[in-house]
Symmetry: C2
Subunit: 361 residues, 2 copies
Amino acid sequence: MIKNSYLATAMMVLPLAFGGVASAQTAAKKPNIVMIMADDVGIWNVSAYHRGMMGGSTPNIDRIAKEGALFTDYYAQQSCTLPSWNDTAAKKAIMAFVERVTKQGSPDFVPPAERIATFDNDGTLWAEQPIYFQLAFALDRVKALAPQHPEWKDKEPFASLFKGDLKGALAGGEAAIFEIVTVTHSGMTTEEFEKIVRDWIATAKHPKTGKLYTEMVYQPMLELLAYLRANGFTTFIVSGGGIDFMRVFAERVYGIPREQIVGSSGKLDFELRDGKPVLMKLPELNFNDDKGGKPVGIQMHIGRRPIFAFGNSDGDLQMLQWTTATTPTPSASGPMTAPPRSAASTRVSTRQKPTTGSSQA
Amino acid sequence: MIKNSYLATAMMVLPLAFGGVASAQTAAKKPNIVMIMADDVGIWNVSAYHRGMMGGSTPNIDRIAKEGALFTDYYAQQSCTLPSWNDTAAKKAIMAFVERVTKQGSPDFVPPAERIATFDNDGTLWAEQPIYFQLAFALDRVKALAPQHPEWKDKEPFASLFKGDLKGALAGGEAAIFEIVTVTHSGMTTEEFEKIVRDWIATAKHPKTGKLYTEMVYQPMLELLAYLRANGFTTFIVSGGGIDFMRVFAERVYGIPREQIVGSSGKLDFELRDGKPVLMKLPELNFNDDKGGKPVGIQMHIGRRPIFAFGNSDGDLQMLQWTTATTPTPSASGPMTAPPRSAASTRVSTRQKPTTGSSQA
């Protein structure tokens, strides 16, 4: 289930009025009104209106238009901005910031190519409780792979996992998590891994809500992504999560394409396997996109400093610092708290001057 | 000097004819024709034509239109495709491939989001003789930094460099080059490095032609980049050159933005320097984007397999193999030679079936 149906462009009502040039035989009748409801098309998809400016031809509608009349005026209601957000200082600050950086002639105007917005994922775009969703994936994979690894029965962290003792399994700290992630995220090609994640994400359910994990996303943040993109921003994920894991669903769920995802990764090796080139996922960390790694990942992948950044944890602090420390004009603003209605403690950070009443600087 | 002025969208001639609704006082006169020449605007920038569909209002032109007549038909000459290319099999193969993958309903149709084209840089987009341009930059930097490093006088590869003996300096092979690159590409922040490259690239001249290095680019390849983008492709550089080095000029010279550049890099470290966050360039290789590294870099940065790839050396072979080995449909085509008029031995690789007469399969 994709939750961003609100992203659809405004539904178009295409009215063609008859009777503008009433013929003799219809003069006595009441005028007919034909309403054609259509989704994701505009007035310029009808050749009676685009008149050759666009591709595509609609001869039947054109004939109706020719026999009738063309509309020359219309009114379209603007779709509501951030409808799930309460009318708080955070929402006002976001909208004021977007207006400042997008308005031609504004002293804070930023050209579209430089309107980079970066978003943490876990706890920012989707939930992260009771455990990181990617860890849930890894635990499910450990169970699926167990028959091939009888030696795991007596080996931590797997032994505890099989007893259902997650706390015991994770008692080994980061080393235990690294072990679990390594055995489930390496030893296959990138394409094989993608299929495994695709199958899991299509079926695995959140333990508390019973929903798909891709449904456990914050509606206000989906609206924020769409709002920023509609204002010329490019939206990137910058997450400690695995880059190959997120790419499987981020485009569909968030509208963020694969090349706009920055994340943690394992090393890859290019090999010819039976003469066919493959990329093997190696059991070795390539990049940890967390804490100070986030500004590094931003530089590596984007090469521009964001002007807007969003996160919810200590691991995002450095990204927020990097975003707010403008060169050459230092920003007076520190991170400001801007919790949307259902996304707790999301931090909103801009490198522009703070909007009155909305910063903690 | 930007050499891609041909990129400008078709110049628009906006004719407004008078006399369509001739008034009594003008009936005796010849009709007036007003030609308004404008660049980079279209018919839909005039509100008499967009009628509220687009933003912007042109009341004076609208008044002229209202008093006169609106045009309902037009003919616009398509701008010339790949004008610097000779009419060879290579050009035909490229255009046939682009038509196949972009034509709705074609069995080889590829959605725009998947139209990834990757280009090597040295020897493919700009020249690479007599030495790699980035090495020329590094040698100039060694000279500039020499006063701060008296110890270099007796140390190779620097000692030979100062004697003007490049061959002797490079006798140390890759280790010598690594040493030269390291001392010139680390020990400063990313922003400091960007300024150094910006200053150099604005003034340094090619030793044989006396032109700026950014003028030593292949016109046919600039046309190819523009042609592909006009057909919905996203164009990426995938080069063994330094990612931070290329980002300084690639957007201006090639129209390729920073986030669409994949290259070699050194490690970065996020630090607070006097309370200000910086990214320090460390004297340690992070990623070598050459040979098998190219498919790895493509996966890391783009996350999609290209459908079109261009290179000129052995270091590009793996990228071409990766591009042509389609999954699940294996491609029958190997790389094919497609030299544009002034770019020697550029290899053109597609993952679709070869076009008749243009492959070496």
